[in-house]
Symmetry: C2
């Protein structure tokens, strides 16, 4: 059996390794267009923050390990350009310009996502960069080393934008953030969003939401960024307005696309073609709370989906229940997390959301070092179900959110969740954990 | 309606406040034998660690607030000595030696637990102390201030013993810990227990399990502690071998006792007498995983039970599902947590436990500052259910355990738990959270 995988990052390499482990006789081939496979993409901002570290520190497993130790036919520099579901073959070109054609029995599309770079004047200038793969990271670090960068403009205010603003401040750069939409974090509760904004500006970052970028020019070696009512200049511009799924190959092959143009897959990760699977940032997923399709490009989902595909092409029958939309990021001294639905998403999914927003403390009464933790909790009036939680604080946020995520997977009501026997000790929270305080109040309101 | 409460700490004052809030016409009387109500008992070790802080910092709400702002008839210095369920009255003596008798319509026994002080020679000497209530805490601090204490011996190795060994090391004392049973933390996985032991000894604490204390003598102003094969000397001895429920009053009144001689209550916190409730450390509780009774003297449970009693005496019908045995403590730089059953408890409850023990990292690949996190996970071979988790690490343990606690409440299988969409970002853990790695491995084993 020949199992061919397009793309050698999280989903692709997880699938390759596991298929070979489960069924060593399987012929596993991975076609990756870059030279990098299996790296921690999420670690790039932290690597960029430290000029003494090599970007290659983020490589988790080198190509030779996959080839020599695991017996995977890993071909880097192999760009796939077409899938033929009828002939069951893929075609492409190597970085050396040679054409190749490879037949498959089972195919996995794990092509990931790409940073969106607007097609506006000047976005192709040197110094204007996105950050998605390791080569993007190397390019940014090289540029900073070569150009004595003093000022950077970040376009966008998503997770990567915020992680990068911290990284660049650590490198002593002046950082300005702009974005088109007028609200700083539109998906977030206003009070929580205000806590994040305060932390970012307190760390010397200028924030301009509602400033659409019109064009970038190069003047005397500097980049001039023209926005609606603002002219900014810098040596470097980071375009972090979002990512889009790399689903072009699948679309051209006639596969069905789903949410946000990601490749539509069922719970076994199968596409609309019997022998073709898709996994990772290029594919959609089920949302456990809504029961509908969603698209969330995150690492855990990609790894898990890669494993499930490996199980399914080697005789297993793994079905993934789906995701609940859990995410966390750090920005300066704040931890920011969410899981499930915010009120707008809840309405959209047909729920009747009721919410509470509370501010608690991260440590017990009279315990030194306590700080504020903000919790928004959303429940459904009709069913009493917990729908989502958002949280911001200096400590205890990143893992506390997981309790709510598990409750969402279990379909718990807010009332049942409020009865949870959560851990308590003075250094880690008050007797009534902020999650429980929120649940108690929300339960009463419902 | 007259609602009388015996005991003015977590359960008692929670019940009093909530009953008055829900139904302001209720006559609420609290009879407390000490002068302290509503304080953070768990904060005492941290308060003792800092000689500049007053023990009274731990008081959450002063008696006058309950009396003047909340209209609660709070009587401190009132020791109840008998309950008469037939006459529906309680009798006792004030600290001034006056007898009192009070009738009730509904009664709550919230008498808490007491530190066990062995009846051995010398345990009544000055300098030999327990730590359960605020007055115990004040006595320890006073003793340390008055006696230039240089050496302390802690008898016992439970949560309080370990928190106190950290506190006393912070005060520059020589600390030696002894206990009768030969195993350091018998309820804990061996590898995890070894991590805790290493941390404690690395911080200069001498540990002697398997050393039964026989007697304490006072010689030249010092205390000599005679153990099996060991003679130790110190200025202060802390007896922290455990606590027992204060259920004597209830027993004398003919109420049914349950697990570990705690007062037996149903899910509505009612005792074997129709109009008498019990809540907090003096009462037992249901264990959600086993469905059986258990006795766990912890603060959250006490507060929650107090609220439920208030609901039930004011016309509500609150049933508490029970606890899952979640606990966390900090010792030096380690966080130690557990929830659910360990393998021995699982066997005892009729399960067929299968376990895994993994060591993971607290941060992502190549992220600076990562350290080891140990996770033991137990599941049931027959049903596939998650039964319990134990965890030790320098960071990310205290709140991570809550995800497992919620899964236990929901009755999740290990396999379902392994599919949880947990939060990931490089500063907070690897892509596969240590909880998920443990669940993946355990799921395969089951």
């Amino acid at each position: 059996m020949k199992f061919v995988i397009i793309g050698g990052d999280a989903a692709g390499m997880s699938a390759a390794s596991r298929a070979k482990r489960r069924q060593p006789g399987t012929e596993v081939m991975v076609l990756e267009q870059t030279d990098d496979v299996s790296y921690s993409a999420c670690g790039m901002p932290y690597n960029i923050a430290d000029p003494t570290r090599e970007m290659d520190d983020l490589i988790v497993r080198h190509p030779r390990v996959f080839r020599e130790k695991q017996g995977i036919d890993l071909r880097t520099g192999h760009r796939v350009e077409a899938i033929d579901p009828v002939q069951k073959a893929v075609r492409g070109t190597t970085c050396g310009g040679k054409s190749f054609q490879v037949p498959y029995d089972k195919l996995l599309i794990a092509t990931g996502a790409s940073a969106i770079i607007p097609g506006l004047p000047g976005f192709d200038l040197p110094g204007v960069m996105g950050l998605k793969n390791l080569e993007d990271g190397r390019r940014i670090k090289r540029f900073m080393a070569d150009h004595k960068t003093r000022k950077d403009i970040i376009i966008g205010m998503g997770y990567i934008a915020l992680e990068m603003c911290e990284a660049l401040r650590a490198r002593q750069l002046d950082v300005t953030m702009v974005k088109t939409r007028p609200v700083f974090l539109p998906w977030m509760n206003e009070d929580l969003s205000a806590m994040v904004k305060e932390e970012v500006t307190a760390n010397g970052v200028a924030i301009y939401p509602g400033q659409e970028v019109r064009a970038i020019e190069q003047v005397d070696g500097d980049l001039k960024v023209g926005c609606q009512d603002l002219k900014l200049d810098a040596q470097m511009v980071l375009a972090a307005i979002g990512v889009r799924p790399n689903s072009g190959l699948a679309q051209d092959a006639g596969l069905q696309l789903g949410k946000k143009m990601a490749i539509a897959v069922d719970k076994s990760l199968r596409t609309s073609e019997q022998d073709i699977y898709a996994a990772g940032d290029c594919a959609d997923a089920y949302h456990v709370v809504t029961g509908r399709k969603t698209w969330v490009p995150l690492a855990l989902r990609a790894n898990r989906a890669g494993w499930a595909v490996a199980d399914n092409v080697t005789g297993g029958a793994k079905m993934l229940p789906g995701i609940v939309g859990t995410a966390v990021f750090k920005v300066f001294n704040l931890q920011v997390a969410r899981t499930g639905l915010n009120p707008a998403e809840a309405i959209d999914a047909g729920f009747e959301p009721i919410e509470v927003m509370i501010k608690g403390r991260t440590r017990a009464h009279a315990h030194p070092g306590a700080s504020t933790i903000g919790v928004q909790m959303v429940g459904d009036r009709k069913s009493g179900r917990l729908l989502g939680v958002q949280m911001v604080g200096k400590e205890g946020v990143a893992h506390r959110i997981d309790a709510a995520a598990v409750a969402l997977h279990a379909g718990m009501t807010v009332d049942a969740f409020s009865q949870s026997d959560l851990a308590y000790a003075p250094p880690f929270g008050p007797v009534w954990d902020p999650l429980l305080t929120a649940a108690n109040q929300l339960s009463k309101k419902i």
